[in-house]
């Protein structure tokens, strides 16, 4: 988004805002004409339109629509101030990013079936390797922390976590 080439930036002042505006514009349309009528039931008898469960979502939808148009115009006409620099980052290697995604997926997909300790150790190791951390003893933390923290949660504070892999 932010690395749009300088030639186009002459015409469009802030590409990020335009894209954000367009996405939100589309979202507002989906919300107003598909989600609200189909996924919010309205009771048959209503004494006052403001009582309807659809009332506020509809208003919010129209306001999002309005602001998304304003945002597109802002992106076209007003150049973003110095915040452009803040949004710019030096991208790392795709491998590093990919391994972070893997770690997140481990937590979502395996947490219930493999238990908190196993996932904690695995994901932490993956993230250490991703950076990569070169101090060898730090890797012991990846084992120590999940075990100690899970123990604290479950045994000391009586907050249950999924503990065991499913076959145990």
């Amino acid at each position: 988004m932010t690395t749009s080439d300088p030639k186009r930036r002459v015409k469009i002042k802030d590409m990020g805002d335009v894209i954000t505006g367009v996405v939100l514009f589309g979202f507002a349309l989906v919300l107003l004409f598909y989600l609200v009528p189909n996924y919010i039931n309205e009771p048959p008898i209503l004494q006052n339109p403001m009582m309807s469960p659809q009332w506020l979502p509809r208003i919010v939808g129209w306001l999002i629509l309005l602001f998304s148009i304003l945002l597109i115009f802002q992106g076209l006409l007003v150049s973003g101030p110095s915040e452009e620099d803040e949004r710019m980052i030096e991208k790392g290697s795709p491998r590093r990013f990919f391994m972070m995604v893997v770690a997140l997926v481990i937590y979502v997909a395996l947490f219930e079936s493999m238990g908190a300790v196993f996932c904690g150790i695995l994901a932490t190791l993956v993230l250490f390797v991703a950076h990569p951390v070169r101090t060898w003893w730090v890797y012991s933390m990846a084992f120590l922390f999940p075990i100690v923290v899970a123990f604290l949660f479950v045994e000391v504070m009586n907050v249950p976590l999924p503990m065991m892999p499913f076959w145990l």
Binding site: I40, N48, M51, L56, L104, T124, L127, V149
Partner: protein, 499 residues
Amino acid sequence: MEIFSEVIQLFFSVENFLAIAVGVVIGVVVGSIPGLTATMAVALALPFTFSMQPIAAILLLVGIYKGGMYGGSITAILIRTPGSPASACTLLDGYPMAQQGHAKKALKAALYSSVIADFISNIALIFFAAYLAKIALNFGAPEFFWLICFSLTIIISLASGSMIKGLMAALLGILLSMVGLDDVFGSQRLTFGSYNLMDSISFIPLLIGLFAIPEIIEFYRKKAVPHIKAKASGAGLAFSELKRCMKSIVRGSLIGVVIGAIPGTGATAAAFISYSDARRRSPNKANFGKGEVEGVAAAEAGNNGVAGATMIPLLSLGIPGDVITAIILGAFMVHGLTPGPLMFQENLSLIYALFMGIMLSSVILLVVGNVAIKYFSLIADIPKPVLFPIVLMFCVYGAYAVNNDTFDVGLMLAFGVLGYIFNRAAIPAAPFLIGFILGPMFEDNLRRSLLIGSNDLSIFVRGPITWFFIALTVGSIALAFYRFLEERRKTQDKASKTS
């Protein structure tokens, strides 16, 4: 005189002192762990109070409550992970401060303002309980509605950078808060048949996801930079800085007291109102959100000012203002005591002993907080590649623990991605959060007023409290509009000068 000795006898016992101390310690520790809130700690400690003396039992729970209120700010400042919902506002300035190497200063500012606010709140509880309780009872749905309208106007002052994006974020927050079962008809809204969504989106996973996770994603998307070994925790808080923040702290405490005395609003709203008020008045307005001590102080004063004041409706009316006080009410009842006007007649000495304990808890919070800062601030010195994986683990465990459900883990990570997109698109997260918190209150109180008034709109202007908040709302919008025009003129002047 007789009552005096009775109070002394009731209060001065090892058990009471121990209860407060242990409570505050548990509160600070649990409050600082993401996902484990003071509410949860109070609920989990409740069964252990069954066998204790009534005063010690209540003081233990109050200690946890107060410790938890403060503890949440520790991780908010250090790792951008609000330990409890109310500390979300603290991180707006606390985390940037820690990033600039002022972690210790931010933590101290949070502690001192918490303790001062706590103290003011206790004073209000002891001396003005009866008066504030009366206000609370006159606070019906229409009054609430206007209070929320006024609170919504703080979004304008929080939306730094682009006003459009700030309002957009708030709208998205409101929209998201409406997922779940409708409060009046029980019909489903945008749940897509998912049972996990019927109770609406859990606040804690949203909070952790929105603030902590984007930081982690960003770190791994950036190129690895070698860690510079330096003492990052930095220096403490100078007295002159505390003095500079004093006005904001006192004002924030009073805001907290009023919000706390009204059942059902909550510390999170108080923190944001106090923060935006401090920002509006501060000479360093531009520095807010970028690491301003006064911002940390105001936010913490707001949320800790609530703690003592929520005891006002509880003790004087027997009405719990939030979940924690509802649990404390349960603890009273288990010991055969029913808070309310009768308790002031029947158990006066017990109430005074309780007050003494509550006062003492502020002092203990100061001591425990100082020790906690000493150790916790070392977190700021841990290199990020080691810290972030462990933070992520805490976040996941905490999100799971809220409802014992992996769905919330997924939800948290989804909000993490959303928060990251927000960061990239420069959409501020704070207005989103306010929309999420205040959206349902706005809608509920609007509809409640209509139901109570049988669709007669005159209920919205029924008394002085409504007039007061209408005036505040209109004034706040007018002021924001005036500021907007002023700034516009300035930038235009600048632009014409440079061209």
